[in-house]
């Protein structure tokens, strides 16, 4: 800038603006590619049947108990209960047999029903205390609703709760439930590592995909011993049902209502 010859301090502005236009033109496909990766991985996961935390449905506003039962109070004061999505993903397709009739009084952690895959059983206990109002009839014919829509059409019982606030205060809800589910999946992987070693000849290709992810419906191909282990160690349910306690050990099977 000597003051004697032509000097333009904005000389490069034209090229800069062209570079900006190029930037925008490249940004759009760049962004699309960046996002497409993520979406594809998710779809892949579903197709291969990999079970991960972000596949789980966790509706807000529903209480989750420690043994993976959910309960939700409607505007008329009646609570619906059922099994949560995580549990259903772990067990896979099951048949449902209810054990309670309307009018019966149940306490928290009393036996409500049994789900089974062939010979393998899982006991379903109640997350709350109260009076049974009704059972969901369509689960007899269409138990797959438990897997497809565990929170709405797949409700198991309607109960009129007697101690709603006290009992749900120990339950998980909303964001806590999401975080809890993630932890439970991890805990389940640890549980499997110990339990399965004992009971199956070749555990790896039944449970884990490459990369250490769980396959969906993990428990369905595993033996009954793992199911029992799952019931006691993982879920921690020791159902309180006075009439049946003695019969458990003798392998008594409840009738299908």
């Amino acid at each position: 800038m000597d003051g004697f010859t032509y000097h333009n301090i904005f000389e490069t502005k034209g090229i800069e603006y062209l570079a900006i236009i190029a930037f925008f033109a490249i940004l759009i496909p760049f962004w699309i590619v960046l996002n497409r990766q993520v979406r594809m991985t998710k779809q892949l996961q579903k197709r291969l049947g990999i079970l991960t935390a972000n596949m789980l449905k966790i509706p807000q506003g529903i209480f989750f108990s420690k043994n993976h039962m959910w309960t939700h109070l409607d505007s008329k004061g009646i609570a619906k209960v059922g099994a949560d999505d995580l549990l259903m993903h772990l067990t896979g397709k099951v048949k449902f047999s209810k054990l309670r009739k309307p009018g019966e009084i149940v306490q928290k952690e009393d036996l409500l029903a049994v789900i089974n895959h062939n010979e393998k059983q899982l006991k379903i206990v109640s997350p709350i205390s109260g009076e049974i109002i009704s059972a969901n009839q369509i689960l007899q014919e269409n138990p797959e609703i438990l897997n497809d829509d565990p929170y709405q059409k797949g409700w198991m019982y309607k109960i009129k709760p007697s101690r709603w606030i006290a009992e749900t205060s120990t339950c998980y809800i909303a964001e806590e439930a999401t975080g809890w589910s993630v932890k439970e999946l991890e805990r389940f992987k640890d549980f499997l590592a110990t339990s399965v070693e004992r009971y199956t000849p070749d555990p790896s290709n039944i449970i884990l995909q490459d990369g250490g992810e769980l396959i969906d419906h993990t428990l369905s191909e595993l033996p009954d011993e793992v199911w029992q282990d799952f019931q006691h160690s993982f879920l921690g349910t020791k159902p309180k049902y006075p009439h049946f306690r003695g019969l458990e050990k003798s392998g008594y099977e409840p009738e299908y209502f």
Binding site: G3, F4, Y6, E16, K42, N54
Partner: protein, 288 residues
Amino acid sequence: MNFDRRNFFKTVCVAGATLAVGNSFGAVKPDKNTIEFQGVLYDSTRCLGCLACERVCAKAHELPEPKDELKAGVIRKTSEKQRSVINNYVTSKGEVFVKKQCMHCNEPACAAACLTQAMYKTKEGPVVWRGNKCMGCRFCMVSCPFDVPKFEYHSANPKIEKCDMCYDRIKAGKIPACAEACPGDALTFGTRRELIAEARKRIFENPKDYVNEIWGEQVAGGTGWLYLSSAPFNEVGFNTKLQNSSYPELSKGFLYTVPSVFVLLPPLLLGIHEATKNRNHSNDEENE
């Protein structure tokens, strides 16, 4: 006549220039291929107030000849009908005649402001207005620190009038009409380098006649039209509060930031969008 003058300058000025200019500019020598700015030196001590330059200018540019007369202390202005004007200033040193017109700045505010490049700084020095591009936004008028461009407010196809240093004449090898017509040798045409050297020489040789400053050497980053005056410049109608750096530098800060904002803001917004996406959408995403 012109060529003799120029050769005379060249021989004298090389000596003078090396003394005056050489030290401050170091070893910068103009490349033979670089075109240097040309300008005009106006020496108010030589001006007779004859208004020949005004008449010649009007004739050369198809403008009406100015009819009013010079009166001491009465300020006349350039307008859309008059590109150049002489005024008679009453100063502490008596009556001084000063010619006013476009200063042809080195870095003109008007050319930086013009979004169609209708106001254009030519490589040879003169700042010209190219009518086929002008849209009449008058941003040049807002930006010019000397208030030079004048607009035809009463025309359906208005133009901007200002001195263009007779650019077409320069291209044809001639000199500006006013410089040619001036009987008192008040106007000298040459390269800016030569003119500054000549002006310094005149101040050096006749220190009592001149104020020790060349107006236009530094103001607004340096202009192509240079002034020598016997009276202080603020007394002869110049605004001495103007800055010595160029005016386009003032908008440099903003214009230089624009590309950065263009490049940084969209990714930032996309990032915030991704980060807040899951707040409301955690339920929707599993259903996909």
